[in-house]
Every structure is written in structure tokens, then in C-alpha cells.
Amino acid sequence: MTDSLLAHPGEATRRVLPDDAHLGPVTLGKVGMWIFLLSDAWSFAGLLIAYGVLRAGASVWRHPGEPQLGIPFTAGLTFLLICSSVSMVLAVAAASQGRVRAQRSWLLLTALGGVGFLLGQAHEYFGIFGSAGLVHEGLVLGQSAYANSFYVITSFHGLHVFAGVVLLLRTWLRSFSGQATSNEVEVVGLFWHFVDLVWILVFTFVYLV
């Protein structure tokens, strides 16, 4: 049993920590991901607080000639990310129940949701599907605190979506050779839900407020 647990490189991360009165049965990978997510949350908190300070202290936030952010389109992207969180949680459930085919389908669907979000963000910035993007409408990086905070925060989040898509596709590929354990799916899921959670806050504070 113990040998098979360590049959593959990297298996140490799914080693089960001794059952603990406080933490219960958890894997090293899961505790590690939670600690990483906390540190990552501080990065986003720092950016959002800096944005709040800049905005609260600015006499003019959106200068003449700078476009407003498109709320309906981004609300659609928000909905897409929420949908991908649901497919992720269904992948985790399927993985824990040993339903490998369902696990694969949900993982792929989740990754596609992430790709759709990234395409939507690229369209919002650059207008890749026709109409003019924000860069053409006068929201230029380096021009104002409004433009800078917008691009820095949303692209930092976009980078997280990209990383999440890479992780999801990696786990999806590994599931074909039986290497993707249900613990791996759960840990990748934690990261993906975090990306969704952060977007909820970014959407609210950067777009809606």
C-alpha cells in the first residue's frame, strides 16, 4: 500500500498527514494549496487596497476621453466563470466517486470555460472579435491611475486564469493514464475556485463600484 502510494514522482504531495485532532485527514498537497492561496490572496488584497486608496484620493478618476468599462459584457464573463466553478466542483465530486469519464468531461469543460474567459478578456482589451477594444477607445496603460489599476488588476487575474487552464489541462491529460488522483483534482479545484472567488471581488470593486 505504501509503495504504491509513492510509485510516481510527485506522489509525496498526496501523502496523507497523520490524522490530526484539529485538521482531520488532509493531504500535504491540500494544506500546501491553502497556504499558497492565502499568500496569493494577500497579493490581490494589496492590489485592491492600492486601487481603493488611489480612487478614494483622486479628485478626477475617469478623465475626459477615457471609456467607461462595459458592465454587461463583463457580467457575462463573470457568469461564465461561475459556470466553470460549478463544472469544477462536479469534476471533484466525480473524481472522489471514481467516475473517471465524468471527471474528464467536467475537467475539460472547466478548462474551456477558462479559455472562453481569456478570449473574452482579450476581446475587452483589444477587440479581437470585431468592435474596438478598450485600448482603442482611449484606455491606455501608463496614462492614468484609472487605466493602470484596471489593466494591472485584471491582467494579474487573467494570468491566474491562464495558470488555472494549464493546470486543468495537465490534470485532464494525466487522467487518461490514470495518474490524476482524486486528491490532485481536488487541489487543482481549490485553485480554480479561488480564481473565481477573486474575480467576484474584482468585478464588484473595479467594474461596478
Partner: protein, 119 residues
Amino acid sequence: MNDSLPSEPLPGHPSETVHRSAEQVVPASATRGYLVVFGLLAVLTVLEVAVVSPEVGVSRAPAIATLIILAISKAALVALFFMHLRSERRALRNMVLLPFLFPIVVGLAVIAESAWRRG
């Protein structure tokens, strides 16, 4: 056994306890709960967009207060249900949730100060 964890069973922990699976099986009935949370997230998102729409016409300060409450509710739904924090042991839940008091307090303080300096 080639990693740093102790290979000997810990006192009071038979080896089968040490190595048993940490992965709790998600019951099939959980799907319904996930879909309820999904519906709530969708409804709260629509409410958020409605609060700032000119047609509804909520004035700025109450709109911001409402948005903050709605956003924190949505974030909490994702963390508690999708990230399963609700069913984790208390120590893990506290380890994750309690530190968030600090950025909230610091954020409110420095943002309020910035607004106060502007006058």
C-alpha cells in the same frame, strides 16, 4: 518511503490510520446543493448589476454598501460550498478565514484616510 515523513507509525496511530485515504467521497446528493449555490450566485450577480444600473437609480453610498455585502456573500458561498470549507475541520477553516480580518481592517483604514485627505 523516500520522503521526509516519519515511516514509523506515530504513537497512538496504527499505520493503517496514518495511510488511509484523506479524500472524502462527495455524496451524489451534493450535486443538488451545488446547483442551489450556482443559482444563488447567478441571482446575486444580477442584483449587483441592477444596483448600479441607472434605471434602478440607487444613490452612490448605499449602492457601494450593497455591492460590498453582495460581493462578500458571493465570495463566502464559493469558499464554503465549492471549496468545501464548510465541511472542513474548524482549525483549517479558521486558518483560512480569520486572516481575512486584517486586509479588511487595513483596507478600510487606508482607503478612508485617502478619502479624508482629499477632503
